[in-house]
Symmetry: C2
């Protein structure tokens, strides 16, 4: 099966429904005081993401025999983290984007001040969920701490924020291959890898399983951003829900700009194959991870 | 002793030195890649704060017999949290302040994009520290999770961010006493109370001690913001390191504006007395908390 559209996958659509219900449970109510911030948070979280990151947490946990119900607050937390990064990235001072997922960006609707605070609030709520008492019913507190620590490490300046800073500072300048790879791995890859590592930690993966899943996560994380670059050139604006060609307009550093489209495609496919190969110690319980990995490189949105 | 200047207090100056060393240990190096974000984080953290919040964590922990060395990463984390709130608060889209602690605000030096990311990075690093493995040497993981959860709760939309939003939305409008109290308790009081509650949690306070410390924290937290309002009118710009009268310029909701200076002073003193009274079950190990509480209302900076 070609994984252009994950919604045809039974695993994916069930996992997505599971996450959507969790998101609704863990978002603040729209009419909770003060309403503006809650409306702003809900607007961006409910704008129709693919929920790939929480599904990766679930799929990684299940690959080592974990139970998705016991980790739901943590899985929802990573979607809140992802949404926080999008809201802040879109701000006028950063990427200055008007459209996201086919809708106006958060600050275009709610204003810059509320958008900044909504991003802050989603990051804060993510840690609130990662340390939620309900998780302790089935996961040892030490493992929970380790997972929250792993996630905060991946999100910091030795992770995602480091990538964002270098990305911003590289706009409009010639870029060398090492800096480009740094940006892609740090800006995008680290969060994807952290989702998989946290799923593994929460299900108490042994060290061999953990190392294999880490390797898988690092490979598909980089591939994901390379495909993002490709779709910014050849993608369908309607499917993607954002402006095509915006990387070129902003003189962003991309794989196609440095290596060309064909070589970028080849590189992303190779990364996915190597990532899947690192799952060889796992049985069919890792099939959803393999399926999502193939989607990463064959996706059109 | 009149507590106008805590630097004459042996406890306070020793605790402050202890925290300063911890801050230097847990800040990213200035020359770590990417440098701009690390320089920006260090600039604001090292701009000379009073370190009241981490000292409150330490003093609360010690009031119930805890050891400051075992909670250092957590205490440093709350100073990072505090600094993140200042950097984001000062942004053009929020309070648009040029001066903080007598120096240019973060975005005036590093630009808006880096300032937004530096705030994000400090909040992220705070959770990195709150879940730091070194804490587990002497504190049960369940207590650590509870403390990190408590802090994230106090920082969210049912806490500090809620207060910031209502504060922003109340500028230039008539305000009722209930909304003013909401802003002060949520915007400022919740973090101060959370510092004390987290210190208590980390030292495994019993429920009676925890309730007393919570009550103490709620009282001094509100008093702190009322005194902030008063100092914005009668304070010494040189000592405060920020513009005097900025609340009036921004038509901010303040206690003196609603109740007058004298009634605001009386209210803050009453809150401090009630707060200190709630510590009656504690022995002299709570004296630093009592001393800091008196400073809260007698401070001139």
């Amino acid at each position: 099966m070609k994984q252009e559209d994950l919604s045809v996958s039974k695993y994916f659509s069930e996992a997505r429904d599971f996450i959507e219900k969790g998101i609704l449970d863990f978002l603040p109510d729209a009419d909770g005081y003060p309403e503006s911030i809650h409306k702003s948070m809900r607007y961006s979280v409910l704008a129709g993401g693919k929920r790939l990151r929480p599904i990766l947490v679930v799929a990684a946990a299940e690959a080592v025999g974990g139970d998705r119900r016991s980790i739901l607050p943590f899985a929802v937390a990573v979607e809140f983290v992802h949404t926080y990064t999008l809201i802040h990235d879109d701000l006028p001072a950063l990427d200055n984007d008007d459209l996201r997922r086919g809708k106006l960006t958060n600050h275009k609707i709610f204003g810059e001040s509320v958008a900044i605070l909504a991003g802050d609030a989603l990051l804060t709520r993510a840690f609130y969920l990662m340390t939620h008492g309900a998780l302790m019913d089935s996961i040892p507190a030490g493992q929970l701490l380790r997972a929250a620590h792993e996630m905060s490490d991946a999100l910091g300046t030795a992770g995602m924020i480091g990538g964002q800073v270098v990305d911003l500072e590289s706009e409009g300048k010639p870029i060398d291959p090492e800096t480009l790879e740094y940006i892609h791995i740090y800006k995008t890859g680290f969060l994807i890898r952290a989702c998989i590592r946290c799923g593994a930690i929460l299900s108490q993966a042994d060290p061999v399983q953990f190392a294999a899943l880490s390797r898988f996560g690092a490979h598909i994380g980089l591939a994901f951003q390379i495909v993002d670059d490709i779709l910014d050139i050849v993608g369908d604006q309607g499917k993607l829900g954002k402006d095509i060609g915006s990387d070129i307009d902003k003189e962003k550093a991309t794989y196609p700009a440095l290596y060309g489209l064909e070589e970028s495609r080849r590189k992303s496919e190779q990364l996915i194959e190597e990532g899947i190969a690192s799952l060889e110690i796992f049985d069919q319980r890792a099939d959803p991870l393999r399926e999502i990995a193939r989607f990463f490189v064959q996706r059109t949105y």
